[in-house]
Subunit: 340 residues, 2 copies
């Protein structure tokens, strides 16, 4: 069933059928209905390939995501996909994993598939020079590349980021001001956001003259293994490192800190404070509930698509957009002692 069959049945030329299909103006109402009727009647579906060949686009955006099973990234993918579809685009999803080679081949693949744009979600790899230089720029030379929570100064690459520096800076500041002087920073990601968060922590601690490199702790294991994270903290403690507060770069790390505190029989938040990041479902699942930083993921994603759509429409769009986050205070941090 092709456009020829339809044109024959409707008694018009294929050009007219094509015009009807594409909503061209120059078709009389009479022929339009006639054609639409026959199309419906014989259940014709245009061949997307032929269409793509002609138009050189299939209205598809590639989403590159290291690990869509990570709840935070999954949410991002979800928001992006929905917003994209609302704008008439489809999403080709590539979960690359964390290997550089896989990422490279994924970008290749997306290019081959003639996607109209690429969105990088959770680009922990932005800073691997090879990747950055050779592959992102290459892709950007052809189609716009959108970065969620990452920044790269390359033409045709657009960034939407949350102000993680300030959020973490604030969180650290507040925790120290509430009397916790030995705040441990617990992280497991070296992404752009990850670095910004760490910088924020550093800035705040330095400002208070409390900065100590020993308190900055990287967790190298699985992103899901709370046990291992807790154990990591226990080990540090056993090695003599003292801390009575944890600023985590992720809610799950924060949860591990809560577990640690419980095991140590610290009272939360009286003896021990914890603050998470992302304000995920996990934050309200534990006991006490987690103070966490909400970085407005949905807003970020929404804006990202707005910009992408703008770029694709040929408009001039901002290269970098920053949104600020918000500390959602719950049970794992103390309230400031207001002096009345």
């Amino acid at each position: 069933m092709t456009i020829y069959d339809v044109s024959e049945k409707a008694g018009v030329s294929i050009a007219t059928v094509s015009r009807v299909l594409n909503g061209s103006k120059n078709v009389s109402e009479k022929t339009r209905t006639k054609v639409l009727d026959t199309i419906r009647q014989c259940g014709y579906t245009p061949n997307a390939f032929a269409r793509g060949l002609g138009l050189n686009t299939m209205n598809t955006i590639g989403i590159l995501c290291a690990d869509s099973s990570d709840p935070y990234l999954a949410k991002a993918v979800y928001y992006i996909e929905r917003k994209l579809r609302a704008n008439g685009y489809d999403s080709l999803l590539c979960c690359t994993g964390y290997e550089l080679d896989d990422k490279i081949s994924s970008i290749r693949l997306l290019l081959t598939k003639k996607v109209d744009g690429i969105i990088l979600v959770g680009s922990n790899f932005i800073y691997e020079k090879d990747f950055e230089n050779k592959y992102i720029s290459d892709a950007a030379a052809r189609i716009p590349v959108m970065l969620l929570n990452a920044v790269l100064d390359v033409p045709n690459v657009y960034s939407i980021v949350s102000d993680d520096f300030t959020s973490m800076y604030q969180a650290a500041l507040e925790m120290t001001e509430n009397g916790v002087r030995d705040v441990l920073y617990f992280y497991n990601s070296t992404s752009y956001s990850g670095k910004k968060k760490l910088e924020g922590y550093r800035a705040a601690m330095a400002e208070k003259e409390l900065l100590s490199e020993a308190l900055i702790q990287y967790f190298p294991g699985s992103h899901e293994d709370v046990h291992a994270m807790t154990k990591h903290l226990m080990t540090l403690n056993r090695q003599g490192l003292r801390f009575h507060g944890v600023l985590a770069s992720d809610d799950i790390l924060a949860l591990a800190a809560v577990k640690f505190a419980k095991e140590m029989h610290y009272r939360i938040p009286e003896d021990f404070s914890v603050s998470g990041y992302n304000n995920s479902m996990l934050a309200t699942c534990c006991d006490p509930e987690l103070t966490s930083i909400d970085n407005k993921l949905e807003t970020l994603c929404q804006h990202l698509i707005t910009i992408l759509v703008g770029v694709l429409a040929g408009n001039e769009m901002p290269k970098k957009t920053v949104f600020s986050g918000e500390i959602i205070k719950r049970g794992t941090t103390r309230r400031p002692c207001r002096i009345t």
Copy 2:
């Protein structure tokens, strides 16, 4: 940059280039390397549309998922995507949400895009007759349709399911045998799996002559809102419903049960038992850790792809495959009192 440019530069015909590209046997080693070199040299990428036009396939599988931000479904999508890519297929992701119309249009879209197969993940809608009859069958008439944790007896539709009936049956049996007589069943999904779980619970309770409809409680709210879930249980309690155990159809509902128990100052598991489902990250995040049923999602997904690939290769494949789950016992359920 087309195949013509390459053929010219390499001094061969386009057919030869095409053969090299498609790994045809009838090419001498000498020409092959020559062509591959020029391809690499001028950075040629085949046009997927033209390719699709010729081959009438683009090696793409459509994934239909109600809500990929649900951690369980996100994991499924992740496993599926990775396995698919390992087999040379790409994934077109459609997050349909829970509206029937959106699902229908998503299927249409996937068909238009000429995907080679469709995978339905989290098909809570399988039993909406309209959908089932008109759209799934329509799609299956053209391409294979794979159902994860759902069953539909329609030609060209294949099902991979976990034996949720038995898992829940076992869990209920054990809980009663450990002395909990008033086990509440707490669920929020009416999917195929959801129904099977409920049936399992019913069967076990009936067997023990403990079945009471009042103990079967549906939670209608957001799938993420632990507070609302907890509140729901509190309300039931206030209304006079007594229960000292909860079998939840999902870990997050189980978490709500744990919160409820804590609020009631029940000791877990001495006074109150809880069992979750899916053995998600949540299970090890709370305190005490959740007993939960692991339904081997990765295995299911892996097998699903194996079958899909088989079907696409033209092989005869089983219409329905069942995997059994496993109860992962943790801190929210009692151990059986072994009589020595």
